[in-house]
């Protein structure tokens, strides 16, 4: 099974992961499952059961221009919090825990969209455009429908 998880919160550009999932609704093949979560952690590990290929979409703050899309793997991430809690098991720790429990899917791809602001209720323009770009490319990759272009995912730069 293929599962795409959008991580986010209601705050400004941080909701971009959820927005991409909204854009993908109804555009993918039936075996591709779409999920939104508000954080990584235990709940995300429960969503890994029976998944061969996992795609994560999350907001990213790495100093790149807003809207930049980075493609990462599970091993590219560094733990940022240095500890664990029920509130904040970060993405790297979640993958470490999944690995220790032997439930990490064979393929894990992470798409991070560089964000601009958390202050607004809405997505900023560059982030909204990037979400549309990423959704189009994922739809092309995970859909056999004739109207979705078969985009090469490798064209998304890191």
């Amino acid at each position: 099974m293929i599962r795409i998880i959008g991580l986010g919160s209601p705050f400004g550009d941080d909701r971009v992961g959820w927005h991409v999932i909204e854009l993908l609704q109804g555009r993918l093949d039936a075996q591709v499952d779409l999920v939104t979560l508000d954080r990584p952690g235990a709940a995300m590990i429960n969503w890994m059961a029976g998944v061969q290929r996992l795609v994560i979409i999350d907001a990213l703050a790495s100093g790149q221009p807003p809207g930049h899309i980075a493609r990462l793997t599970a091993t590219d991430l560094d733990s940022q919090t240095g500890g664990t809690s029920s509130h904040q098991l970060d993405l790297a720790q979640t993958f470490e825990l999944a690995c220790a429990l032997d439930c990490l899917p064979d393929q894990v791809e992470i798409y991070g969209i560089e964000i601009d602001t958390l202050q607004s209720a809405e997505l900023s323009r560059p982030v909204m455009d990037a979400a549309a770009t990423l959704a189009r490319r994922l739809a092309g990759s995970f859909s056999t429908a004739a109207n979705e272009p078969q985009a090469a995912m490798d064209s998304i730069g890191v």
Binding site: D38, A42, T84, S85, S86, H87, Q88, Q93, E96, L97
Partner: protein, 431 residues
């Protein structure tokens, strides 16, 4: 002179429910200063709510905490319904208990496995623990997932659920959904049973201390969403009289308010609930508790862990009981007619008593709101516990041991700064 200072700093992080710090100064082998500072989002929400219409309140308060949104929704719904003179009836009451069971399950399962267990088994984190005890962690994740499924049944989604409203729920699950849920709950009972026995076998620190417990108490049921406010020193009052007995005071080192009962710190949360309500446990949970050989009330704060695991069992047993009698109602909500008034609501959040008070006008618009969350009620108690536990542990111990004990004591209360306590940084000055 020996001067030793300990400080914690927690940066504000997206998706972290709070922030806090502990300032500890030890001189001549004595604690000269101990101050726990917790940042409290609910205080801002009291102002956000002013001017909101009654039907906006539940969505707003759900945002206070990503871990226990249902608790905030249930206390708010109860308060607004009281102000409007509205009785939503037995179906809504039962389903609110089921909804609440889901929140206890997911919150307790996370705390026990991700936070507490690594402390007591000697691991830095759950990742290290998972390598040695993978089945324990898997069991915890299964129970957490079950809690989320139960929340989705009535809330529509497990993250910031949207299913509840003043007067009831927006939608009643159909029989097939309830049957599927019942099957999952029954299948999880052995996990919950084994978890309680596992927790009872852990070597927890022996740390007997005197403290006052406060919780709701219901005539017949283990308390989730209804009851009088009681304490083990004789208090028993309706929730509307909360402000007559409990005061909150500012302290210079904290943005949070410190709650006191008749001028003294007190405990809310799973251990307080169990200490005051062990005779209200469902028969199966009481039988399981007897099997452990543990007895309650207990004055060992570390028995909070056992209380949480037992409440996981209670939540599953209670949800099964209520869903086995499920009938789909004609309407999942009763009609709401606003009227001017004041209403109070009190329910048992996973972390303890959560008290709300709303003043609404005749249009159903909030004119004033007051929210007293469990973590602020426990703050004075945590400070008192730290002061005594660290002294008993030995103030001359190495800094990293002292820090770990302070973290363990704080985490044991499962405050909304749980994450913060992992950021403990100690700076030591010795002269």
């Amino acid at each position: 002179m020996t001067k030793r200072s300990v400080s914690i700093h927690v940066p504000a992080l997206t998706r972290v429910e709070g922030e806090g710090s502990l300032r500890l100064r030890i001189e001549h082998g004595e604690i000269q200063e101990l101050a726990l500072d917790i940042f409290e989002p609910p205080r801002y929400f009291e102002k956000f709510l002013e001017g909101r219409r009654h039907h906006e309140v539940l969505d707003t308060v759900a945002r206070i905490c990503g871990i226990c949104p249902i608790a905030y929704q249930m206390s708010a719904a109860q308060a607004i319904e009281q102000a409007f003179g509205l009785d939503p009836g037995p179906w809504v009451r039962d389903m609110r208990r089921v909804f609440y069971c889901g929140e206890w399950l997911q919150s307790h399962a996370l705390h026990v496995h991700l936070l507490a267990a690594p402390d007591f088994l000697g691991f830095d984190s759950v990742v290290g623990m998972a390598a040695r005890h993978p089945e324990v962690v898997r069991r915890g994740l299964r129970l957490q997932g079950l809690g989320n499924a139960l929340i989705r049944l009535l809330g529509g989604r497990s993250v910031h659920p949207v299913g509840a409203c003043v007067g009831g729920f927006f939608r009643a699950p159909d029989a097939a959904e309830v049957d599927d849920m019942l099957e999952q709950l029954r299948a999880a009972l052995p996990d919950a049973h084994d978890l309680v026995l596992w927790a009872a076998a852990l070597k927890l620190p022996q740390d007997e201390q005197a403290f006052t417990c406060v919780a709701l108490r219901h005539d017949t049921d283990y308390p989730f969403e209804q009851g009088r406010i009681v304490s083990d020193d004789g208090l028993s009052v309706p929730i509307e009289q909360y402000e007559d007995h409990f005061i909150e005071e500012h302290r210079p080192h904290s943005t949070a308010l410190f709650s006191l009962l008749h001028g003294a710190p007190y405990l809310v949360g799973p251990l307080a609930r169990l200490n005051l309500n062990h005779d209200r446990l469902p028969a199966a949970s009481l039988s399981l508790l007897r099997q452990t050989g543990m007895t309650f009330p207990s004055n060992n704060m570390f028995h909070s862990l056992l209380a949480r695991t037992l409440e996981i069992h209670v939540a599953i047993v209670e949800a099964i009981r209520l869903l086995e009698n499920y009938r789909r109602p004609v309407s999942p909500q009763v009609e709401v007619t606003p009227r001017a008034g004041i209403g109070c609501g009190a329910t048992e959040a996973p972390r303890g008593l959560l008290w709300h008070r709303y003043e609404l006008d005749d249009q159903g618009i909030v004119r004033a709101a007051r929210i007293v969350p469990p973590t602020s009620q426990n703050q004075a108690r945590i400070e008192a516990d730290l002061r005594r536990s660290l002294r008993q542990f030995g103030l001359n111990r190495p800094d990293d041991k002292l820090r770990l004990r302070a973290e363990t004591v704080i985490r044991n209360y499962d405050p909304c700064i749980s994450c913060a306590t992992h950021f403990l940084k100690i700076g030591v000055t010795r002269r």
